[in-house]
Each structure stands twice: as structure tokens, then as C-alpha cells.
């Protein structure tokens, strides 16, 4: 039995010039990323409140330091508050759950490349904490861990509402993880690799035409929907569903532990947005130019691409908020039906179509980086999106009476209702 080349798989894509430089650079990258991330997440809580306010013709928080210090005030308040531990709760897991909810979102960032590599005087430095060649598999693995925080929070609270919230979230996240994983397969097919930097590289060159939004539009749509479900954001925030479950899995949490769930939600949102930018919007690639993709990799290029990457990420974060303040929450059976009966079959079919199309185009002699290749895929996607919008999305995707639309079912229901009405009329004359 030959040994698997595990070390080679885990090794950084570009080997560091020296161990010392590698260590210092990695620690610095971690520090910078962590700080930016935490400050960013804090500011996003403010952004959410501001954006929701503007969408509802209000002002939003504008008192503490003109509103800018609101996150700091919230943080201070939550730290000063009393931590309550319910008598019936299982304390070790009760304490562990908020951490488990937050950490996976943070860990995912390790492999996301956020800028062009920099040829520093000490050697080339990749703009990702750990540019793993198996990057995407790592993301799928860590993403699955994210559900534990919520499930364990719901279970350890020993509260029926919390438990229901936790159960909902586990069912929801497991269901949509499948669709999410499927949605990335066309991207991986195109890149021929699971390394995130390779995926970004493939999308560079032709600008938005070679981005995966153009070549795998339906995959992007499914990924978007699944990402909403994965992060428990509206319209899929059933684990919280305050009208039914008080506050769902975090009903029993108070003070900073509650805040951790709040932070985790935003952290997940940022991570999902960054993933979406990387997989479907060219990552850090600056469109309409190849200037940023070729040597020499100067610090200026690194800064500009980093800025663009965070711009793209913030746009998707805004999109999340935009959707949240537009669309009402799904009913539970609608959520499940959407995930299993629609997204999964659509993705399975799409993978077959895309796989065939890619092979056919390659056999026909088109170079994968050429304009014709991407253009042909774009054309195919436009047709498929039109089919989706005008044929499939006819009250079948989400309907107020999804499970009752079958005419047979409908007539059976009517018959039952009729019998019931006559019985009622006989009882109460």
C-alpha cells in the first residue's frame, strides 16, 4: 500500500521562500484578517439596522456618536448584562454552543484568496491565510460543522422552543448543504480543480463574461438560495421564527452569549458572501483588464484587488440584507419542498447539461479560455434561465398551497370539507 501524498495536498500552493518569512507573513495575515473581520461584523450589525431603516423610510440608529458607535454601545451593554443559566440547561454544551456557531464561519476564511499575490522583497506572499490545494473541500467540511452550534444550543437549552429551532435548523442546513454542494460542481467542472485560487484564475481574463455568474448562472442562483438557508437568514430564518418559536435556538441565551449568536449570523453571512464572490464573481479579479493577473505582482495590484474583493463581498452582504427586508419567511413545508423537490433535481439536471456542454465544446475545439467558449455557455444559461423563469416558476417553486396544488388532492380535500360541512349542519340546526 503506497502512502497517500497527504503532505503535498496540505502544502501551500506556492511554497514559501523561508520558514521564517512564511510564519511571520501567516501570523500577520491572520491578525489583519481577524481584526478586519471582527470590526467588519460589528459594523455590519449597524449596516443592517441602517439599511432596514432606509428601506422603511426611517433614519435608523443615529444617537450614539451619530450612529457610528452603536455597535460599541451594543457590545458594552451585552458585556455588562447578567448571564443567565437556565436550571434545566446542560451547562457545558450551553456554553460551548455559541462558540461552535461562530468559529466555523471564521475558519472558512482561512482558504479564501482575497487578493492578488504580492511579490514582496522576502518572497511571494499569497493573499490567503492558507491557500490549500483542496480549498473547496475544506470549505464544504467546515461548513457542515456550522450546524452544530445551533443544534447544540437548541438541545442544551432544554426548552421546547429552542429544541424545535435547533431541529429545524439541522434539517434545513442538511437539506440545503446538498443543493449548495451541487451548485458548486459546475464551477469545479469548469475550473477542473478544487483550489480556490485556481477557480479565481479561471475566471480572470475576459471580465464578467468568464465569471461563473455568466457561465453557470443557474448554479449561482441555487447557490444563492442555499446560502440564505445555510446562514439562517430570511426568508429561511425558521430556526428563529420569533412568531412561532419565541426566538428559536437562542431563546434561553442572554448577554454576550446571545451576542455571540448574533455575531455568528453576520460572520456566516460575510463568509457566504465572500464565497459567492470567489466562486461566481471572479474573486479578486478586476474585470476588463488582465493587468492584475500578470507579473510583476506589485503591492499596488494586491491592494486594488483586495479592495475590489471586499467591495464584491460587501455587495453580496448588502444583497442579503436587501432580501431580508423584502421577502417574508417561508413556511416549513415550503422550505423543505423547495430544497428537495426543486433545487436538488434542478441542480442534478443542470450538472448533466453543463457537463455535456463543456465536453461538447472542448471536443468541438474551443479553448476553455476563449470568448467563444464562455459565450456559448452564457447563451445556454440564458436559455435555461428563461425556462426557469417562465416555465418552471409557475406557482410550482413556492406556492401558498404548495402541497395541495395537485388537482386530485384538491378534489379530495373539497370532498372531505363538504362531508364535514354537512355533518356540522346536521349537528347545529
Amino acid at each position: 500500500m503506497t502512502a497517500l501524498p497527504v503532505l503535498a495536498l496540505l502544502q501551500a500552493a506556492t511554497p514559501p521562500q523561508s520558514l521564517f518569512v512564511f510564519l511571520v507573513a501567516t501570523v500577520l495575515k491572520m491578525l489583519i484578517l481577524f481584526t478586519t473581520y471582527m470590526v467588519g461584523v460589528a459594523l455590519l450589525t449597524l449596516a443592517e439596522r441602517k439599511i432596514s431603516a432606509w428601506m422603511q423610510d426611517r433614519h435608523g440608529p443615529n444617537r450614539v456618536g451619530k450612529g457610528w458607535l452603536q455597535p460599541a454601545a451594543d457590545g458594552l451593554k451585552n458585556i455588562m448584562k447578567e448571564e443567565t443559566y437556565p436550571d434545566a440547561a446542560y451547562t457545558p454544551i450551553f456554553v460551548l454552543a455559541p462558540v461552535l456557531a461562530f468559529v466555523p464561519a471564521m475558519m472558512t476564511w482561512a482558504v479564501i484568496p482575497w487578493g492578488a499575490p504580492w511579490d514582496s522583497p522576502w518572497g511571494t506572499i499569497d493573499m490567503a491565510v492558507a491557500p490549500l490545494p483542496v480549498g473547496f473541500l475544506y470549505i464544504l467540511a467546515i461548513g457542515s460543522v456550522g450546524v452544530y452550534g445551533i443544534v447544540l444550543a437548541g438541545w442544551s437549552s432544554n426548552n421546547k422552543y429552542s429544541l424545535l429551532g435547533g431541529l429545524r435548523s439541522s434539517a434545513q442546513m442538511v437539506s440545503y448543504e446538498i443543493a449548495m454542494g451541487m451548485a458548486t460542481i459546475p464551477v469545479l467542472l469548469l475550473a477542473g480543480n478544487v483550489s480556490l485560487s485556481q477557480i479565481v484564475e479561471r475566471q480572470a481574463g475576459l471580465g464578467p463574461l468568464s465569471w461563473n455568474i455568466a457561465t453557470c448562472t443557474i448554479a449561482w442562483l441555487v447557490f444563492l438560495i442555499s446560502a440564505f438557508a445555510e446562514t439562517n437568514r430570511l426568508p429561511f430564518d425558521l430556526p428563529e421564527a420569533e412568531s412561532e418559536l419565541v426566538a428559536g435556538y437562542h431563546s434561553e441565551y442572554s448577554a454576550m452569549k446571545f451576542s455571540m449568536f448574533f455575531i455568528a449570523e453576520y460572520a456566516n453571512m460575510v463568509t457566504a458572501s465572500a464565497l459567492m464572490s470567489t466562486l461566481f464573481f471572479g474573486g479578486w479579479d478586476i474585470p476588463f483588464t488582465t493587468w492584475d493577473n500578470v507579473a510583476p505582482h506589485t503591492a499596488l495590484k494586491t491592494l486594488l484587488t483586495t479592495g475590489l474583493f471586499f467591495g464584491k463581498t460587501l455587495f453580496w452582504v448588502f444583497f442579503y440584507m436587501w432580501i431580508r427586508w423584502t421577502v417574508p419567511r417561508f413556511r416549513y413545508d415550503q422550505l423543505m419542498a423547495l430544497g428537495w423537490k426543486l433545487l436538488l433535481p434542478v441542480m442534478l439536471g443542470y450538472i448533466v447539461v453543463m457537463g455535456s456542454a463543456i465536453i461538447a465544446l472542448q471536443k468541438a475545439g474551443f479553448v476553455p479560455t476563449s470568448m467563444a467558449f464562455s459565450g456559448a455557455l452564457l447563451g445556454l444559461n440564458v436559455v435555461l434561465v428563461l425556462v426557469l423563469l417562465f416555465v418552471l416558476d409557475r406557482g410550482r417553486i413556492v406556492s401558498p398551497a404548495y402541497s395541495r396544488l395537485d388537482p386530485r388532492h384538491l378534489s379530495r380535500l373539497r370532498a372531505v370539507a363538504k362531508v364535514h360541512r354537512t355533518a356540522e349542519a346536521e349537528v347545529s340546526p
Binding site: D57, R58, L410, L413
Partner: protein
Amino acid sequence: MAIGVKVLERPIAETSYLRATMKGMALTLKHMFQEPVTVQYPEEKWSLSPRWRGTHRMLTTEDGKAKCVACGLCPTVCPANCIKLVPGEDEKGNRYPLVFEIDEFRCIFCGYCQEVCPEEAIHVGRHYENSEYSRDGFVYDLERLTAQTHPVCEMWDPADPKGE
């Protein structure tokens, strides 16, 4: 199942979730760029209607005495029975109120007292910030009523006396 469930036949051909969502998103985006309608309350205040009926005010004569002649019409007309009036008479035979108290908690702000007053002494005011630290503070005595300075209710619009 189906205990009198109302089953509607939905027009499937016209339903589209994705397009409806996009429509909704266009609406929310439009509202993002509209001016907020919030009034920043402690700094900004709505201007009250001239017919606003708030807490009372007793108008005074030029020498600072209450205009009230203790005729007793306002406690009589008051449907909430919130006015306490004890009439007195000075050496010249002019009647004046010894005690004039309005319990603002009982008052229903109908404005009948102002309407009925022959001397135009008691008025309901254009005022709404009335918080106090104790319940006792809401029984306004004569001193308090004369000391109030807020504008008073017009009862009707002079330009439109019949309320048309």
C-alpha cells in the same frame, strides 16, 4: 385534516415567486432613496392642529388674576366630573374661585368647559408633554392653571366655523 379548510384554486399560470421577489426588491430599493418620514421627536416636533385639546390653562386679567367668576357652569357641564370649584366672594361682591382644581387624569378632553365658559377663562391647551413624577401632580390647581403659558385651543377654525 381538512376541518373546514378553505381550499382556493390559485391561478398557477400567473404565479411566479422569482419575479414577485424581484418586484418587491425593486420597491424596497426605491424606498432606500426616499426621504425618511421620521420626526426626530425631542428635537423636532409636529405642529399641533389649532383645534388640539390638551391640558388646561386658565387665562388671567391684566392684573394677573384668574378671569374665572366661579359661575359653576364648567363643573356642571363636565361629563367626567373632573372640575372641583369652591366659589368665593370678595368685599365688592365679585365672585372668584376659592378652589379650582382639574383632575387631568379624569378629564376626557372634550373641551365642553371651554365652550361653556362665559368669561373665556378656562381653556383646553395645545400641549401634550405632561409627564410628572407623581400622580398628585396631575391635579392642577388654580395657581398651576394660571401659570401655564402654552397656546390654547381655538375650538373651531375661524375661517371655517362650521367645520366644513
